[in-house]
């Protein structure tokens, strides 16, 4: 330490009116502290946080040449910022400051005045000892790219993109399917209001397409993510469509002419066929088909065909298209990768896959949809209208063998099905449930409405579905067997059709996206939010937010609200335009680092990377949150948190125990 840097400490003991003094003999404390090494001045004053109090500090720094300041008053959670600002105003680095909390920890909680004074002395002395080791710290400001990446083009991603773009930011929306729309595009009606999903959805899809602020990447996937908050560099892979988006007019001739017609339609849940060149559904956005390379005669089987190319008037078909890679500068990322429905095949007692009239809820959505395989008529495979239908709740949910959690939406959509079945077919509907969960605005009312419509609610989880018949008259029907737990009877109900209300699980590929982004997932595979209650949209990685079901099952209103919220978070970040890095972050001394990577393992924020060239760990200052896990994990004492260095903490300990 050079002579001009020789510590000259000023210590200020606050009376806090009548709050600290007279319980603590502040004058006695000041007298005691004055005698300590390096203490240039020790004063007591009525209100240190008042303007005259702060001015006293500023003047002393200037006139006495203080280079360290200690204030003994209230909790630093109250006034640390105030005093740091005062120190900064006087031209000193604000981190040359330490506070001793002699109000909350001493005067207010100690009965005996003498004991209180002793404790205060010791605490102020410890603050003096600590501030001796303080170092000047800087925060850094980094500019933020004014652009948002949204991953996933379902209702969550679309809404997040629209909200962000409406705020004036550039949005890139990446969707791996040929069209945006996600699951909601497959629905017919939505609970509890029964609005037509297409009517509220299609305009939104068009808005997304036409919004000048949104660049749409469909049939594309996020390939690589580098950088940090405000400065992500994202590589998007555009899979070959084999159709030139700029030339295609969406006339649909290619699809009519394609000779490969017997491919199960993913969009219709395998209940109808599509061609090899296809758009998943008529209202697809963009209205540009893709060629399914596995099934196409030219691409998949090396045969002569090219019928689509022959009939395309704008010459948009391009069999030689290759994947394209686009690099984007991104300020904030919104993850909206959604869910997929649980496949009920492994619940073998329900016979899904064995009995043609056992449908999953997604299949039923299509069966019931005007754009679906039956044009919205609920028909069995034999073309007949079902006379009696059973809807089975909690298939794969609340089941420790499958998904232990409640999937939240199944009770409500089951009752929506019941209503639609009653309305469309007049069929008798039996709902088998464990508990009806209808916590939402107008949800319980909807339950009551469906009850009134004559749906039979049986409280009991279905034990099995069988095609064994008791009565020859029921030949060809399925029998649903369950205990009706409220009457303690085993009921065997012959039905024509069964709908399995399957639960939700994270979408296929969320693990990969999680890895790309550095996001952690919970035991069920959903992305972890930063805080379950207070930061439900943020993630441990600064600048990355969550929207919709990728964070956990939720219904459409919650999804949209969350998407708007996530966009709000992103907008707040972009609007400010800069991020200030924290001063109290980790630093790894490259001279001490042994390259063991313990710190990398311990870091929750993926903020430490390994420099292969120098064989040392390096902290990314923009990502580090200063939790100090690395410091405690480092076996070589190379990692440490600034402002919580070994010297500072141990100096404080030593002084407290004097």
């Amino acid at each position: 330490m050079t002579t001009q840097n020789k510590p000259k400490i000023g210590v200020y003991i606050c009376h806090c009116g009548m709050n600290i003094a007279p319980k603590v003999d502040v004058e006695e404390v000041a007298r005691y502290i004055q005698e300590l090494d390096h203490v240039t001045v020790a004063r007591d004053y009525k209100f240190m946080c008042s303007n005259p109090g702060q001015d006293m500090i500023i003047n002393d720094i200037k006139e006495l040449g203080l280079n360290r300041v200690v204030v003994a008053s209230c909790s630093p959670r109250m006034h640390e910022k105030t005093f740091r600002n005062a120190v900064r105003t006087a031209g000193l680095n604000p981190y040359y400051f330490q506070m001793a909390n002699i109000r909350e920890q001493v005067s207010w909680v100690t009965k005996d005045s003498q004991e209180a004074t002793e404790k205060a002395k010791s605490m102020v002395a410890a603050a003096v000892a600590r501030v001796f080791f303080h170092q000047p710290l800087d925060t850094r400001e980094v500019t933020v790219a004014k652009s948002v990446l949204v991953i996933g083009g379902g209702i969550a991603g679309m809404q997040a993109a629209l909200t962000s773009a409406n705020a004036g930011y550039q949005v890139s929306l990446v969707e791996r399917e040929p069209s945006i729309g996600g699951h909601m595009a497959k629905f017919d009606k939505t609970f509890p209001t029964l609005d037509c999903a297409a009517c509220i959805m299609t305009p939104k899809m068009v808005d997304v397409l036409q919004h000048p602020g949104i660049t749409l990447y469909t049939w594309s996937e996020v390939e690589k993510v580098e950088g940090f908050i405000g400065n992500f560099e994202v590589t998007v892979k555009k899979k070959p469509r084999y159709v030139d988006e700029k030339k295609c007019t969406g006339c649909g001739t290619c699809m009519q002419k394609c000779p490969t017609k017997k491919i199960l339609s993913e969009f219709n849940e395998g209940l109808s066929f599509r061609t090899a060149i296809y758009t998943p559904f008529p209202q697809a956005v963009p209205n540009v088909p893709v060629i399914d390379a596995t099934h196409c005669r030219v691409l998949g089987q090396n045969k002569k065909c090219g019928v689509c190319a022959k009939f395309c008037e704008t010459k948009a078909i391009d069999f030689d298209q290759k994947p394209e890679f686009v690099t984007l500068k991104i300020g904030a990322i919104i993850t909206a990768t959604g869910f997929q429905a649980v496949n009920p095949t492994s619940l073998e007692q329900y016979g899904y896959g064995r009995f043609p009239e056992v449908y999953t809820s997604m299949e039923f959505e299509r069966l019931n949809n005007a754009t679906g395989p039956t044009s919205g008529k609920v028909l069995m495979k034999n073309g007949m209208v079902p006379k009696r239908v059973a809807i089975i709740h909690c298939v794969g949910s609340r089941d420790t063998r499958h998904k232990k959690y409640c999937s939240r939406v199944c009770c409500m959509y089951s009752m929506k099905f019941a209503h639609l079945l009653r309305e469309k077919t007049g069929a008798e509907v039996w709902e088998f449930y464990i508990d009806i969960r209808s916590p939402g605005k107008l949800y319980e009312e909807f339950y009551n409405r469906v009850q009134e419509e004559g749906v039979r609610f049986i409280r009991g989880r279905v034990a099995e579905i069988t095609d064994m018949v008791e009565d020859p008259g029921d030949e060809g029907r399925l029998t649903v067997i369950a205990e009706s737990t409220l009457t303690r009877r085993t009921v065997r109900v012959p039905v024509d059709m069964v709908v399995l209300s399957v639960g939700l699980e994270p979408a296929r590929g969320s693990e990969d996206i999680g890895r790309l982004l550095g996001l952690s997932r919970d035991g069920d595979g959903w992305f972890n939010e930063l805080h379950a209650k207070l930061a439900p949209l943020a993630t441990p990685i600064n600048g990355i937010f969550l929207a919709g079901c990728c964070q956990g099952p939720k219904d459409i209103p919650d999804t949209v609200a969350q998407a708007m919220g996530a966009a709000g978070e992103a907008i707040a970040l972009l609007a400010k335009g800069i991020v200030t890095t924290q001063a109290e972050i980790s630093r790894i001394d490259p001279d001490l680092c042994s390259g063991c990577k313990s710190c990398i393992e311990s870091c929750t924020y993926s903020a430490i990377r390994f420099d292969e060239a120098r064989k040392v760990a390096v902290v990314n200052e923009a990502l580090c949150m200063g939790c100090g896990s690395c410091a405690a994990a480092c076996p070589s004492s190379a990692a440490g948190v600034k402002h919580f260095t070994d010297k500072q903490v141990m100096g404080e300990i030593e002084a407290l125990l004097m």
Partner: protein
């Protein structure tokens, strides 16, 4: 102290698992003989949770468990329902609270007795012993027995292990002293 102040079932392994029961009815819905039971299996769990131990001690439910394990592989909380039915029977037998007019406990006794005496089970002997308590039942089986014998399928002579005493000894060594009030 009356015996239902403390849980006579408390020593059962996995008894903790019944705390997880959500009363969904999968066990009873899967049970081939649920209609004969005075309580659904799940109800026994609920009764135990309520402390109604006497109800469970006198229930016929465990005695109608056929050990088909359908409930056990389907229970969404993975409660070992069948294993618990075995354990309940063990406690009930020890406490001597099996329903008096119930056929199954007598059948079990006849079966167990036959093993204890001979080491093996000879169906005709089990039926004969059981028939002493339920003569009507035994009589009902006679036509079938005759048919069986005609096809060489009725063994009247007792099957035995070489040293039946060793099995009797096994029974003695594994005897659990009965709780006496």
């Amino acid at each position: 102290m009356s015996q239902n102040d403390t849980n006579p079932f408390s020593a059962i392994a996995h008894l903790e698992s019944i705390k997880q029961c959500i009363q969904c009815g999968t066990c009873s819905g899967s049970c081939p003989l649920a209609d004969l039971m005075d309580h659904a299996p799940r109800e026994l769990f609920a009764l135990l949770r309520e402390g109604a131990f006497d109800e469970v001690l006198h229930s016929n439910t465990p005695w109608f468990c056929v050990s088909c394990y359908a409930c056990m592989v389907r229970c969404p909380r993975e409660i070992p329902v069948t294993d618990l039915m075995y354990a309940f029977k063990e406690v009930i037998t020890k406490q001597g609270t099996a329903p008096k007019n119930l056929k199954m406990p007598d059948m079990y006794q006849a079966f167990s007795h036959n093993i204890k005496e001979t080491g093996k089970v000879t169906e005709s002997q089990v039926m004969a012993r059981y028939g002493m308590k339920h003569p009507l039942d035994a009589l009902k089986n006679i036509p079938l027995a005759i048919k069986m014998q005609m096809r060489g399928r009725l063994e009247l002579k007792a099957q035995k292990v070489a040293d039946p005493k060793s099995i009797t000894r096994l029974f003695e060594l594994t005897e659990i002293p009965k709780d006496k009030p």
